[in-house]
């Protein structure tokens, strides 16, 4: 229940230029933190591998010089050094920029978590916005983090760091907790750039239920040949919420779970539950309940759940 309530709290509505209200779900803070951790791990892993490769090449340069660094070819050494510095800079900024400017609007980490960035106004995602939000991230997280780490190392060596450590920690905490103090879970970079992070659902089209089994055969079971027909009074017991729960059960659930649902429905409508033909019963019930609710819907009558 709490998960559903939390998802409800994160849902926003985006109006497309066609005037269609499109629901979007804001990404959870945990998901975003996870995506960032994945990205940082990918960047560090990549840079580490690249630098090890460079070191290996540099080691090759020393060969045949009796391991005397001063006699190694200087130009080549320098080239490797430059490559190291530049690759660090380019990877750090380029990784986020190029990927978030791409058509998916998400880095690898975000894609794994299933989220993407979008413009808060519902308009186009401008390249400037992507650049702004990524530049701000440094000040929010990495500068204070590095500062705190440096101060910790200093203090472990016996230097007095005084209030500075607390200031740095406060800075770090301020930005880290920023998303918790606004409704849309924006971090400082999102505010400056005018973006937010939303879930990017990728749903497959599921099969139509009303063309399968007993639902298609006007309630007739393939196993027993019995026909299940429900009257208006029996169908009036449930509403849309129960219908959609039943739909989920029919798509995913195990036979044992279906048997339990079957028993519950039979008790509710006053039927005598049999055994062995639960699926056909539920398919028939689903199809007829949906037909009734959709019929009412066309006349503007909606029944949200069994209590209404």
């Amino acid at each position: 229940m709490s998960a559903a309530a939390a998802a409800e709290k994160r849902s926003r509505v985006m109006i497309t230029p066609e005037g269609l209200a499109l629901p979007v779900t804001l990404a959870s803070r945990g998901g975003r933190a996870g995506a960032l951790m994945l990205d940082v791990m990918i960047i560090f892993g990549g840079l580490l591998a690249f630098n090890l490769l460079l070191l290996w090449i540099a080691g090759g340069l020393l060969e045949g010089t009796a391991f005397d660094p001063s006699s190694a070819p200087r130009g080549a050494q320098e080239f490797l050094q430059i490559l190291m510095v530049i690759s660090g800079f380019v990877t750090w900024y380029g990784y986020f920029l190029v990927q978030e400017l791409g058509p998916r609007g998400a880095t690898l980490g975000k894609r794994m978590v299933g989220i993407r960035i979008a413009a808060r106004s519902g308009g186009r995602l401008a390249p400037e916005a992507v650049i702004a939000r990524n530049l701000i991230r440094d000040v929010e997280l990495f500068y204070p983090l590095v500062l705190v780490l440096v101060l910790l190392v200093l203090s472990s060596e016996g230097e007095d760091i005084g209030l500075l450590a607390w200031a740095a920690t406060g800075w770090f905490a301020l930005f880290l907790l920023f998303p918790f103090f606004n409704r849309d879970a924006l971090r400082a970079g999102d505010i400056v750039a005018g973006t937010w992070v939303v879930e990017a659902p990728r749903t497959k089209l599921a099969a139509t239920l009303s063309t399968q089994g007993a639902a298609a055969n006007r309630g007739a079971s393939e196993v027993t040949g019995a026909r299940y027909e429900f009257g208006d009074k029996e169908l009036a017991v449930y509403g849309e919420k129960e219908l959609q729960t039943l739909e989920r059960m029919l798509r995913d659930a195990q036979p044992e779970a279906l048997a339990a649902v079957h028993a519950t429905i039979c008790r509710k409508i006053g039927w005598n539950p049999g055994a062995g033909d639960e699926r056909a019963f539920l398919e028939a019930f689903y199809a007829q309940l949906r037909a009734k609710l959709e019929g009412d819907m066309r006349f503007g009558k909606r029944k949200a759940d069994k209590f209404s």
């Binding site: 791409g102 702004a132 400056v192 973006t195 599921a206 739909e247 959709e294």
Partner: protein, 355 residues
């Protein structure tokens, strides 16, 4: 919380042929089955676009994309009112959202944006923050004067303002010869390239910091600039004491006209954000912040480019070119180039660039 669909990453799943439309007993399912083919076609096109393979998409598909998108959008609107099939609704919502991101996606990729940026976008953004540039310039000049005055009053300030790495021979009490030697050239270019790379990485880090700190109403950006310029003022005081002001200015101007201009711009961009948030005018604070942030981001990309130029100038010409005249010539022409590019270069803006 739903689990990410990993299977969608690897290959496309088998798509079963849709069942016969007539077999559907429900009206809403018949509605769905009639349109399902178009939805699936849209999904395939969108998946292609997300992979970035715009060129591999058949022309027919590209032409059909807007129509398919509108069909899906209207299907969603109808389905919300007539269907209770939550799986279909969820699919349509996800599909329309994905298609929306592609149809109304970024008008150009990174390459196109970069072209527009160099051909006018950059100088437009710089001109847009002219007021902040004036304020930042004033603050920087004031910072340099403060640095000079502080050190002139008490030499102990010198050691506080100038980091010890820079102050190896350049300390109060150094002789004229020592100071002159620190301005001299290197004999060969060896080692200078990696020096340039280090400088670039370091300086652009400082600039990005100055920009990003603008978020706190611009005050940290200003403090950072004052600190940097106070250091410059202190060094100026040191060299002028030995009558070397002109030599130092020439030595600094080679890269300084580019680098200090870059720092000025990044500080101004940070200040721009802070100022828009403190005084948003008629706009909402968040709108004002994001408009200023996007303008500032354009300036910042330019600053990174300026830092590359400055680092190359600092490492090679400054250390290799000797003599006050040639040094001033390089520095002065760089300054003239930047000023002309930012304030005189005003290409006519194409109407469709306004996005």
């Amino acid at each position: 919380m739903k689990t990410p669909v990993l299977s969608s990453w690897f290959g496309r799943g088998e798509i079963a042929a849709p069942p016969d439309i007539a077999s559907a007993t429900l009206r809403s399912d018949r509605f769905r089955l009639e349109r399902e083919g178009e939805w699936r076609r849209l999904e395939a096109i969108v998946a292609q676009m997300e992979k970035g393979g715009l060129r591999r998409i058949a022309d027919d598909d590209l032409v059909a994309l807007p129509a398919l998108y509108r069909t899906a959008a209207s299907s969603l609107a109808v389905a919300r009112e007539t269907s209770l099939d939550s799986a279909t609704l969820a699919y349509l919502e996800a599909l329309v959202q994905r298609a929306w991101f592609q149809v109304y996606g970024p008008p150009r990729g990174f390459g196109g944006w970069l072209r527009d940026f160099v051909l006018g976008g950059w100088s437009r953004a710089v001109r847009a923050i002219w007021l902040d540039i004036c304020i930042a310039l004033f603050v920087m000049v004031a910072g340099a004067i403060v640095g000079w005055l502080l050190v002139a009053q008490d030499e102990a300030w010198y050691y506080r303002l100038v980091p010890s790495g820079l102050a190896d021979t350049r300390v109060p009490g150094a002789s004229r010869e020592e100071l002159l030697a620190s301005l001299a050239t290197e004999e060969s270019a060896a080692g200078l390239a990696s020096f340039a790379a280090q400088l670039f990485s370091n300086n652009s880090g400082v600039c990005i910091l100055a920009f990003a700190l603008g978020f706190a109403f611009g005050i940290p950006s200003l403090l950072l600039m004052v600190h940097n310029m106070a250091m410059l003022g202190a060094i100026l005081w040191l060299f002028s004491g030995q009558g070397l002001t002109l030599e130092l200015a020439a030595w600094l101007s080679v890269h300084g006209t580019t680098e200090i201009f870059g720092i000025l711009l990044s500080g101004a961009a940070g200040l721009h954000i802070g100022r828009s948030m403190a005084f948003p005018g008629q706009r909402a604070v968040l709108t004002a912040a994001s408009e200023a942030g996007q303008r500032g981001a354009v300036v910042m990309v330019g600053v990174v480019i300026m830092m590359i130029v400055a680092a190359i100038l600092e490492a090679f010409p400054r250390q290799l070119v000797d003599g006050t005249g040639p040094r001033f010539l390089i520095g002065g022409s760089m300054l003239a180039f930047w000023l002309a590019y930012f304030f005189l270069y005003r290409p006519v803006r194409l109407p469709e660039d306004s996005a």
